[in-house]
């Protein structure tokens, strides 16, 4: 927050404290949302490129910046964004205008609002609230309104059917997801996301993915289902209902839904890495002891040590890895059948999470090392 302190002293010195508080919050939000939106844009590019490589295609490789040939394709997301901005927004006849336009905003808003409590590293993050995990659960559960309202306000049966499908799917998997998070909460003994990360301190084996492995898997698969991504993208079933709840949206309305989907993917990946993969903690931590202290000096070196130690970059790497899994799933798995999706959610994941909840509670009460010893 030293940048904020500098700004207060040199740029916004004329502001009274309450105004400065609001301005600083606004600045922090902007500083978070702009990189996030860029990440979303380049995630779409990464998706097309990576799936292209997996399927032995080129992917987008034409649009470039200033005619530089080796940047071929990197201008694609920007070009797509401009195309969508300048397209006409068509509001279907008989649609509810206000709700029709509100739905994409709700979808994107809830995906971005959840970022308020995510700790980026030991000190960075917009806020640090005690009930952070609850807030995340609340925000992600509000996102379903965007889908339902979009389907209903479009005044189209295809959109409506698509909305029902995705909403039922989101509601079903939200329960398993919530239980998975409850087990994290039991393991960490805190609702504060920063505390949850700090409880995993001590190297890769101390992260919660190990004691909570089934929950990690359930959480991630539920996350894939929540975001309506392949192989759970029945809402999009091209052969039956075109593109699900957003068939009637064009131009920027569609683009905002698209952004919301990818922002949700990034959110799920970030939450999974914060709660199960130790957030900003370095996976190399503890190696010094393992190799008899011979690497200790490496951690103390100027630039290499910063890279090997804890920091935001490790969170970014973990998120990128999980996002790669999202794309990988899409490239390799065939679409699930709808009744099997429901069965997996209700009859497999929920009982599994409840059983593991008890197991975790026992592990915590027995203070099983290395995760649950009381200091």
């Amino acid at each position: 927050m030293s940048i904020l302190g500098w700004l207060q002293q040199h740029v916004f010195f004329w502001m009274s404290p309450p105004w400065w508080t609001m301005t600083s919050i606004l600045l922090q939000i902007i500083a978070l949302v702009i990189p996030l939106m860029l990440a979303v844009a380049y995630l779409t590019f990464a998706e097309r490129k990576i799936i292209g490589w997996m399927q032995v295609r080129m992917g987008p490789n034409r649009v470039t910046f200033f005619g530089i040939p080796w940047l071929g394709g990197w201008g694609q997301p920007i070009a797509d964004a401009f195309k969508l901005i300048f397209k006409e927004i068509i509001i279907p006849a008989g649609a509810n205008r206000f709700l029709f336009l509100l739905a994409p905003v709700l979808a994107l808003g809830s995906a971005l609002a959840a970022w308020a409590v995510i700790p980026l590293d030991a000190t960075m993050g917009v806020t640090d609230v005690n009930a952070g995990l609850l807030y995340i659960l609340a925000m992600t559960s509000v996102g379903v309104y965007g889908v339902i309202i979009a389907g209903w306000a479009s005044n189209s049966k295809y959109a409506f059917l698509g909305a029902l499908r995705s909403a039922a799917q989101i509601v079903a998997y939200e329960i398993a997801m919530g239980f998975a998070l409850v087990s994290v909460l039991i393991a960490a003994g805190s609702l504060n996301l920063r505390d949850i990360v700090l409880r995993q301190d001590g190297g890769m084996a101390h992260w919660f993915w190990l004691p909570l492995l089934p929950m990690f898997v359930v959480y991630f698969i539920s996350g894939v289902a929540e975001t309506n991504r392949a192989p759970f993208d029945v809402a999009e079933g091209e052969s039956e209902i075109v593109a699900g709840f957003h068939v009637e949206y064009s131009g920027m309305g569609f683009a905002v839904f698209f952004l919301a989907e990818y922002a949700n993917m990034i959110l799920i990946a970030t939450l999974a890495s914060v709660m199960f993969l130790g957030g900003w903690l370095s996976p190399l931590q503890g190696l010094a002891e393992l190799w008899g202290g011979s690497t200790e000096s490496l951690f103390a070196t100027a630039y290499v040590g910063t890279f090997l130690g804890h920091g935001l970059h490790w969170l970014v790497f973990k998120v990128m890895f999980l996002l790669l899994l999202f794309l990988w799933f899409r490239a390799t798995f065939p679409r699930y059948r709808y009744d099997q999706i429901m069965r997996l959610g209700w009859k497999v994941f929920i009982p599994m999470t409840i059983v593991w909840l008890i197991v975790v509670a026992v592990l915590v009460m027995a203070e099983v090392p290395p995760w649950f010893q009381r200091a």
């Binding site: 309450p18 709700l99 609230v129 005690n130 009930a131 609850l134 807030y135 659960l137 609340a138 559960s141 509000v142 379903v144 309104y145 339902i148 309202i149 209903w152 409506f160 029902l164 909403a167 509601v171 939200e174 609702l191 009744d339 099997q340 069965r343």
Partner: protein, 199 residues
Amino acid sequence: MEQFIFWAFAAMLVFSASMVITVRNPVHAVLFLVVAFVASSGLWLLLEAEFLAIALVLVYVGAVMVLFLFVVMMLDINVAKLREGFIRYLPVGATFAVATIVAMGLVVGSRNFGLERYAAPAREAADYNNTAELGTLLYTRFLYPFEIAGLVLLVAIIAAIALSIRGARQIKTPKPERQVEVRREERVRIVKMPAEKRT
């Protein structure tokens, strides 16, 4: 500042709550109810009851109202028919409404719940943990009521499921577990036949 936020949320709450009962379209009514819940959760946040505020959004907005919306969207309600007997039932309805308002006023009026009867709650320190405090109370002092409430909910869930089951299933349904476990040998048989000579 706090005053301003309070009045903004309070106005939003009163407005959306009155819209819930006056608006014609049932889907709009449900959406206004959602807004009402969000506004009241904002008021709770102002009281520093962050656990209750977020739980309200999580449970009511995130779960209950979604199901409401689901059901209401599927209904094909004829609004004109619903409003038909409005004048005829007005006297009866008005009587009950007045009686209810008077009763509510007597019970929760300023005589019993006025500002002078309750001291303003003391502000807790910044590191005060609402959730932990609530959990401690629920699992010590109010353990039995809490467990009984949980039991009642469980019974209600089982009863709801029991009510919606209508005898043995008549329809044939696919069994996914069998389908998933299917092996190639069960479905495909390769038949080897000797090649016949062309005549």
